[in-house]
């Protein structure tokens, strides 16, 4: 390359189709935008099939079908069948609500390759509380339905302060259910999780214990169950290579058809993202301003621009930079070299203090904001400054 700051643009390997923001659950750590209730438009079946064809022509090979709850789309089987015919590996990311044996069979017949079932926790009380519905028994049933269809059993559990102390039971339950892959994903603080950040951030002590428990299970189970532990970036002082690089591998289409490099990028100011109804995926990926803005390293400011780690983390997450430093081109404030890093350290310290003061209280007294349309409308009306810090 003649200009080392101009990134070479590869092709998208992953297409993430967020089919709907509708969801029967109300998880407090949901990554859907807090103003989802003001975005009710959804693409038609035809639109989605066109997106799939265009993505496949460009080389996309992994397809994530998510939401909201993707099972709420009546045309899910049609979408899966076309995706499979085109040669995608099809992943359904679901809460399991709505996955009856009949629907599972129809999806299997359509060629669905894999179902990732999300669990909030190992205990019924906590699971129901965090997702704000009575779903725990249902999820156990669904796990069996998934096994019966011969799909690999893949579980995802979002980890945070209120369930991290149950790590041992969470893993034990996954093992009992015959899970082959378990993703223990520390909450990433965007969207609803950002609103509830002080209640969800674990303490350093909790993280240390959880990691030790995970390691012990890994040693015990060997290859029979793969445990992926996603470390929390707030505590590490180190930025992650968000979505493996902006516009580098992932292409997400949100329910109304807006195409974005990651599912929360729509929050970034001064950046227009095209809609798949108006533009082809190829133009969007290669030509659009939205996909080009933060590609590579040429856009960086200090301290990133001269940092020896800039190729490793590509400056971290743009949304986090915007939310915490109020500048989408800043270094990700979780990085210890960011001039705004103290805000992250303070957030963790506040959470630690809150955790100590709450010891002995029941979780029901936490002022959590549940993801539901009413809260969403309230929060979108109140949205003025994006970087407002929530203080306890």
């Amino acid at each position: 390359m003649s200009d080392p700051t101009k990134p070479q643009v590869g092709h998208p390997l992953w297409l993430l189709a967020e089919l709907t923001y509708r969801c029967p659950l109300h998880c407090v750590f949901c990554y859907n935008p807090v103003d989802f209730a003001t975005q009710e438009q959804e693409l038609s079946t035809e639109d989605w099939l066109r997106v799939l064809r265009q993505g496949r022509e460009m080389g996309a090979v992994q397809l994530g079908l998510s939401g909201g709850e993707p099972l709420l789309r009546d045309d899910l089987e049609v979408i899966v069948a076309e995706a499979r015919r085109l040669g995608y590996y099809t992943n359904l990311l679901t809460s399991g609500v709505g996955l009856t044996p009949a629907r599972a069979k129809a999806l299997k017949d359509a060629g669905l390759d894999h179902v990732q079932l999300s669990f909030q926790d190992s205990t019924r009380e906590m699971n129901d509380f965090l997702s704000h519905t009575k779903t725990f028994e249902l999820k156990n049933k669904v796990a069996k339905i998934i096994k019966d269809q011969g799909w690999p059993m893949v579980m995802n559990v979002v980890i945070h302060r209120m369930n991290i102390d149950h790590m041992d039971r969470i893993i034990a339950m996954a093992h009992e259910m015959g899970a082959e892959y378990v993703e223990l994903a520390n909450t990433q603080y965007y969207s609803w999780a950002y609103v509830n950040r002080e209640q969800l951030l674990p303490t350093h002590e909790q993280l240390k214990r959880a990691e030790a428990i995970t390691d012990a299970w890994r040693a015990k189970l060997g290859d029979t169950m793969k445990l992926f532990y996603v470390a929390p970036d707030y505590h590490e002082g180190k930025a992650k290579k968000c979505v493996n690089g902006w516009g580098n591998m992932f292409l997400t289409v949100v329910p109304d058809g807006t195409a974005v490099p990651c599912h929360t990028a729509k929050m970034l100011p001064g950046l227009a993202f095209p809609n798949v109804k108006a533009m082809s995926l190829r133009e969007i990926w290669y030509e659009s301003e939205g996909f080009n803005r933060y590609r590579g390293t040429g856009w960086m400011k200090e301290p990133c621009a001269s940092c020896e780690h800039k190729e490793e983390d590509l400056g971290g997450c743009r949304c986090q930079a915007y939310m915490i430093a109020n500048d989408p081109a800043a270094a990700d404030p979780v990085c210890r070299f960011s001039p705004e890093h103290h805000k992250v350290v303070e957030a963790v310290a506040r959470a630690e203090a809150l955790a100590t003061s709450q010891a002995g209280q029941t979780v029901k007294e936490f002022p959590l904001v549940f993801r539901d349309p009413a809260s969403s409308r309230r929060l979108s009306a109140a949205q003025t400054a994006p970087a407002t810090e929530t203080t306890p």
């Binding site: 092709h11 390997l13 460009m58 080389g59 090979v61 992994q62 994530g64 040669g87 590996y89 992943n91 390759d113 894999h114 990732q116 011969g150 799909w151 690999p152 893949v154 082959e180 892959y181 290859d223 029979t224």
Partner: protein, 93 residues
């Protein structure tokens, strides 16, 4: 499970949830699995595509040796199948 030692009579097959296909854009065989992908090098691709749950290692080795006019590939094939077994790309009884 894949714990059984590999012999020339072992019959490897694709693990549950794995699928291999040729991707023209990547000019390679790729192995697809839940939320992941491995781009296989040419020799891995040639071995994997013969692991169809029908042929045993001896037959796979013979087929490869004929196709590529080579000799003494058994060690390489067993080495790869062992590695693939640890990753659960391949399983055998």
């Amino acid at each position: 499970m894949s714990a059984a030692p590999i012999t020339p009579a072992t019959v490897p097959r694709m693990g549950t949830g794995f699928r291999m296909q040729w991707e023209p854009v990547q000019n390679a065989h790729v192995l697809l699995y839940p939320e992941g992908m491995v781009k296989l090098n040419p020799s891995a691709g040639e071995i994997m595509k013969r692991c169809d749950g029908q042929r045993d290692i001896a037959a796979i080795v013979a087929d490869l040796e004929a196709a590529f006019q080579a000799q003494g590939l058994q060690g390489d094939v067993i080495g790869f199948v062992e590695l693939a077994g640890q990753q659960r790309w391949l399983v055998w009884d």
